[in-house]
């Protein structure tokens, strides 16, 4: 199974991510984002906790990637693995939540500057037991 692919877009960058589970889809989306960021990483390993709440699963993916991007840029880190503790609707708040740990490395420099993760045409779909989504990054 392909993890993600980079699609053509006139001004910005679009990626398509796949996953057998929602967790895998989210993981592959940050791996796709990692490729877009063109990092020179260092050896030093890092771990971060992340909690996100959103109105639905699509928004959760955007908010998750936005949060990962924020953590990357502020801490100068890149993440390539995720341990999910929760991902799905929360019974108490009625929102969709994500709780996870991110694993990655410290970064020497970024080769690309992603300004933001957009909702443009973003819809998580399930085709033949495979989740897929297209994400447009504003760069």
């Amino acid at each position: 199974m392909e993890k993600y692919k980079i699609l053509p877009h006139p001004a910005d960058i679009k990626i398509q991510a796949f996953g057998k589970t929602k967790e895998e889809l989210f993981l592959n989306a940050i791996r796709g984002m990692k490729e877009v960021l063109k990092v020179k990483s260092k050896k030093l390993k890092v771990k971060r906790e992340i909690n996100v709440k959103s109105i639905d699963l699509n928004a959760l993916l955007v908010d998750f990637l936005s949060e990962v991007l924020y953590l990357s840029q502020v801490n100068k880190e890149i993440y390539n693995d995720v341990k999910f503790k929760k991902l799905g609707p929360s019974t108490s708040s009625g929102q969709t939540i994500l709780e996870a740990e991110l694993f990655g490395n410290k970064v020497e420099s970024f080769g690309e500057d992603i300004k933001g993760v957009t909702y443009h045409g973003l819809e998580i779909k399930k085709k033949d037991d495979l989740f897929e989504v297209t994400i447009l990054f504003d760069i």
Binding site: I6, K115, Y119
Partner: protein, 991 residues
């Protein structure tokens, strides 16, 4: 699906798709384009243009410039203007953080009442909250627009300050610190936070029992001469109109009336005219009178303006005669209905010292929080200001009364009423005293003085200052707040010293090693000397003295010094130090409001993303002068201006410095010695959007901006050295200071990480708010909220702050470039700013729509504002010719300086912002290598400085539309006129 054929050609430079094309279109869409360029326009971008016509409040057209290309939400190169106040503003970013507080936290409501937040679950829509306006350092009220309840598990933060105040909040709840808003989890011990020491009185719902019915009122009215016949009818019909009768305990007017009645008994008068009550007059400081006026208006009456007059006074007392001059401020309410209403509610009219009156009986049946309003109104006028007698201890606040000798009993009864009311708040008072020195001889005989004092014991006055305090007197309220905070700290230290004294005595008895004990027990407020005297009796002059209970330490500040170092603003807010932060278990619900910010209303749109823009710096050199130094100069410029991708500048700014830039923009940097005053004048908006509010920008955004000031970013952001190769309009060029072969510096970048995060944050907020405003849109990225909604206002303020950040970023880059030039070409080298203009911005501007001038929120996304000659918002020196418009080409292609023209009125004075992409980054990379691009440019005599080859191919000239074609459309359509063409000689690119 949009088809190009759906667009009708209006002329050689303009096409339009009618409103009838799609049901959800509110206006037609227009695009400025030539036949030649039309084939290069993507249908996806046209679809986005049509989508943007669905935004609520959009007027006339959604407009696209010839450099239009597909973005997300509206296309890049799009312009839309929304009508105020019902139009929308849409950010492209949001961030409703659900940060909450624990259910038992009291929230302060309007009228000085508080209630635990969890009790508001069902009623939050009916209350009005007090909150702090950090920008004005003021306390203000606002309506909540959202109530939030969620389950929290497992922890919450408990923050305790040095005065003993505490609050329990979730880890991401922001608290206002000296560095701006900070999330609880990031706050450390020792940091200072802003508090309002006033607590108020617990809120209780009031009954619907009638205080004054229409019949009661008519009965009182009929006693007055002036109120017979039609006058009486008029009064009643007016009171009916303002819906004040019957007045009930739960009438919304009652809280205001209670304060007004209290104040009138002190510094107000209702004169006696023809045996009837005359116009009510209020005396006081202008700012307090203003507060009273506002309240009077709220209940439906019209106060006069405030009058000021200087008068000479002479007062003869028991001891001596006093003469003084002072300016007296007052206003009146002439309406007889108002005087009659107050009298019906129990206020005396005519000379109060000659009249018998008590606290109106109905006040005793009010809820406690309502009683407070009456007392605080009276105290605002009559109770003494909190002050100290020996720097540390406070005088007992006193209420004085003058009364005709024969009415002494009545005066005592009135003060007894006050005493009783205060007792309900558990506030102790001293016995009522007759004051011998306060006997005056007036025209109508002798008066005597009576006094009621509130017990000065620290815990008693703290309670008084925190619960009752003062209304309609900002100075007294402020002092009361500061005094409460000061005394609480003082008591804590006295308590600490008392405990230390006891403890050390005990231990000394047991162990007996004073030196060792002192080592362990001495501290800032329990110094060695103090501990020594706690154990050993002192002998002086042969008398042995034992130490009593400790007082506060000598190094504790006096009240005056405390005010100087701890007051925040002028309304009683205070900086208090965090003493402890605990993470405590909290498996329970937590709550929060979203509060409507008080300023003006407005909102929305989804056009604005990150605020990039462009500026040109002019040099005095020609290309010939520069050529020998070109390589060195470009290298030095690259060194001075990092791209900042991950590697920002070496210096990280503090959040406080970021806040300054966000709110004060370029003028702040100039005041700090970066750049010249002239730079301010030549920047759009003079480098500072007044509406900017750093509090509306999230902590995350600020964190991303800390090392980005003075950095370029990547993608199409660059700095270039250009030479002017053609002048089209000599006259305008001369005004702009441009000449043939001149070398100029062009800077293209934006608000960087801060702006992007701001976008992300607000898109999220706005998206969540869509259902509330019943807004349905074809694309989530168009998310918008009404301009006058709280979210819209906050977004506008945040976006304005991000614009200030972007201008400041380009300003700092200019400063560093100036440094590079000086290093290579000598100290005398000076670069002058031609103009700086934003490319992504929403602004309130006045435009003509169908012959009428109106205020619009104009959204420009990847488009440039271009004002014509004589427009008030352009610098003086450009007034006769129009605003300079900079249209940068892509890497290695020409750029243009144009000038704004009147014809662009039809496009909200907007033109294109560059060439516009035509090919995706990937396609460009497949089509050409970075190496090839560099060698092609070299052949043309253009030097490229870029740390990585990766980004070069993506920005290859072939990936963009032909800039000459784009500029030609704008020129021919008359939107702007060509002034000069620039060709690059060196490009310094972000990575």
């Amino acid at each position: 699906m949009i088809n190009k054929e759906n667009f009708k050609k209006i002329n050689n430079w303009l096409r339009e798709i009618p409103k009838s094309f799609r049901d959800d279109m509110r206006v037609p869409a227009r695009i400025y384009v030539s036949d030649k360029m039309w084939e290069h326009i993507e249908e996806g971008a046209l679809e986005q243009l049509v989508n943007s016509t669905t935004l609520p409040g959009i007027v006339k057209y959604a407009i696209a410039m010839p450099d239009i290309h597909q973005g997300y939400g509206p296309p890049i190169g799009g312009v839309g203007a929304m009508k105020l106040p019902d139009g929308v503003i849409s950010p492209g970013f949001v961030g409703y953080d659900e940060n909450c507080i624990s259910g038992d936290t009291n929230v302060l409501l309007e009228h000085g009442a508080f209630i635990p937040i969890k009790r508001l679950e069902k009623e939050w829509e009916n209350i009005c909250l007090q909150h702090i306006d950090f920008k004005r350092k003021n306390i203000t009220t606002s309506l909540p627009i959202r109530f939030l309840k969620k389950f929290n598990n497992p922890h919450i933060f408990k923050i305790i300050t040095s005065s003993g105040e505490n609050v329990k909040i979730t880890e991401d709840h922001p608290v206002y610190t000296k560095e701006g808003m900070k999330e609880a989890k990031n706050i450390r011990k020792g940091e200072k936070v802003v508090l309002l020491p006033f607590k108020g009185v617990k809120y209780r719902k009031s009954s619907s029992k009638i205080i004054l019915s229409e019949d009661d009122f008519i009965k009182v009215l009929s006693k007055f001469k002036t109120s017979s016949g039609s006058a009486k009818e008029q009064v009643i019909s007016f009171l009916r109109k303002i819906n004040i009768l019957p007045l009930k305990y739960n009438s919304f007017q009652l809280p205001y009336l209670l304060k007004i009645i209290g104040y009138t008994l002190g510094d107000g008068t209702i004169p006696l005219i023809n045996n009837s009550p005359g116009p009510v007059a209020f005396y006081g400081r202008p700012e307090d009178l203003e507060d009273i006026r506002k309240d009077i208006k709220k209940i439906g009456f019209k106060p006069s303006k405030i009058y000021s007059r200087t008068r000479d006074h002479e007062i003869k007392t028991y001891y001596r005669k006093y003469k003084f001059t002072r300016t007296e401020h007052s206003f009146r309410v002439s309406s007889f209905s108002f005087s009659a209403l107050l009298v019906s509610l129990g206020l005396p009219y005519g000379s109060r010292s000659e009249k018998e009156y008590r606290v109106p009986k109905w006040i005793f049946d009010c809820s406690l929080w309502q009683k407070r309003l009456f007392l605080a109104g009276l105290f605002g006028a009559e109770l003494s200001t909190p002050s100290t007698l020996n720097k540390y201890n406070f005088y007992a606040p006193q209420l004085n009364m003058q009364k005709a000798e024969n009415l002494k009993r009545n005066a005592k009864l009135f003060l007894k009423d006050i005493k009783e009311l205060l007792a309900e708040f558990k506030i102790e008072t001293h016995a009522i005293q007759e004051v011998p020195g306060y006997q005056y001889k007036g025209k109508k005989g002798k008066t005597l003085g009576l006094r009621l004092q509130i017990s000065e014991r620290a815990d008693n006055i703290i309670k008084f200052f925190q619960t009752v305090s003062y209304e309609y007197n900002q100075e007294k309220f402020k002092k009361a707040c500061l005094a409460a905070n000061y005394l609480k700290k003082k008591l804590k230290i006295v308590d600490l010293r008392t405990k230390a004294r006891k403890e050390i005595k005990k231990l000394y008895k047991k162990k007996g090693d004073f030196k060792k004990l002192v080592g362990e027990y001495s501290s800032k407020y329990t110094p060695v000397q103090f501990l020594y005297h706690s154990i050993f009796e002192e002998e002086s002059w042969g008398i042995r003295r034992k130490r009593g209970n400790p007082r506060v330490a000598f190094n504790f500040p006096s009240f005056d010094d405390y005010i100087k170092s701890n007051a925040y603003g002028f309304r009683g807010l205070v900086w208090d130090e965090i003493e402890k932060i605990e993470k405590i278990p909290h498996k329970d619900y937590v709550y929060d409001f979203t509060v409507n910010h008080p300023d003006h209303n407005f909102i929305a749109n989804n056009f604005v993303v990150s605020n990039c823009g462009i500026r040109i710096l002019k040099s005095d050199y020609t290309e010939k002068d520069i050529q020998p130094y070109l390589d060195k100069l470009a290298t030095e410029m690259q060194k001075e201006v990092p791209s900042g991708l991950g590697r920002g500048r070496q210096t990280k700014l503090s959040i406080e410095q970021i806040d300054k830039i966000l709110e004060e923009g370029v003028p702040h940097l100039v005041s700090q010695g970066y750049g010249e005053k002239e730079d301010i004048e030549n920047c759009e908006e003079k480098g500072k959007m007044e509406q900017a509010d750093a509090n509306c920008v999230s902590q995350k955004a600020k964190m991303r901006g800390r090392d980005h000031v003075g950095t370029l970013g990547s993608g199409n952001h660059f700095v270039s050295l250009e030479k002017i190769d053609e002048i089209y309009d000599e006259t305008v060029a001369e005004v702009f200071g441009l000449f043939k072969d001149q070398v100029v510096v062009m800077i293209h970048t934006g608000s960087r990480g801060l702006g992007h995060q701001n976008c992300t944050d607000y898109l999220r907020i706005v998206m969540q708010a869509l259902p509330k405003y019943n807004i349905k849109l074809p694309d989530r990225e168009l998310a918008c909220v009404p301009f006058d909604s709280p979210e819209g206002q906050r977004f506008f303020k945040a976006m304005s702050a991000a614009c200030n950040f972007a201008w400041s970023n380009r300003h700092m880059i200019s400063y560093y470039i100036g440094k590079a030039w000086k290093k290579i070409l000598g100290e005398k080298t000076g670069l002058k700013l031609l103009y700086d203009v934003a490319h992504n911005i929403a602004k309130i501007e006045e435009h003509e729509v169908d012959g009428q001038k109106m205020k619009l929120v104009v959204h420009r996304k990847g488009a440039t504002r271009a004002f014509p000659p004589n427009h008030p918002e352009i610098p003086k020196k450009y007034k006769d010719v129009g605003q300079p418009v900079i249209v940068p080409g892509s890497m290695g292609t020409p750029s243009y300086v144009m000038v704004g023209a009147e014809k662009s009125k039809e496009a909200w004075y907007t033109v294109c912002h560059g060439a516009g992409r035509m090919m995706s980054r990937h396609a460009a990379m497949r089509a050409v290598s970075g190496q090839k691009v560099v060698s092609d440019l070299k052949e043309k005599g253009i030097m490229i400085k870029c740390r990585s080859m990766k980004g070069i191919a993506e920005e290859a000239p072939m990936a963009y539309k032909n800039i000459d074609d784009v500029v030609e459309v704008v020129h021919q359509a008359g939107l702007s006129k060509k002034v000069a063409r620039l060709i690059p000689i060196a490009v310094i690119k972000g990575e």
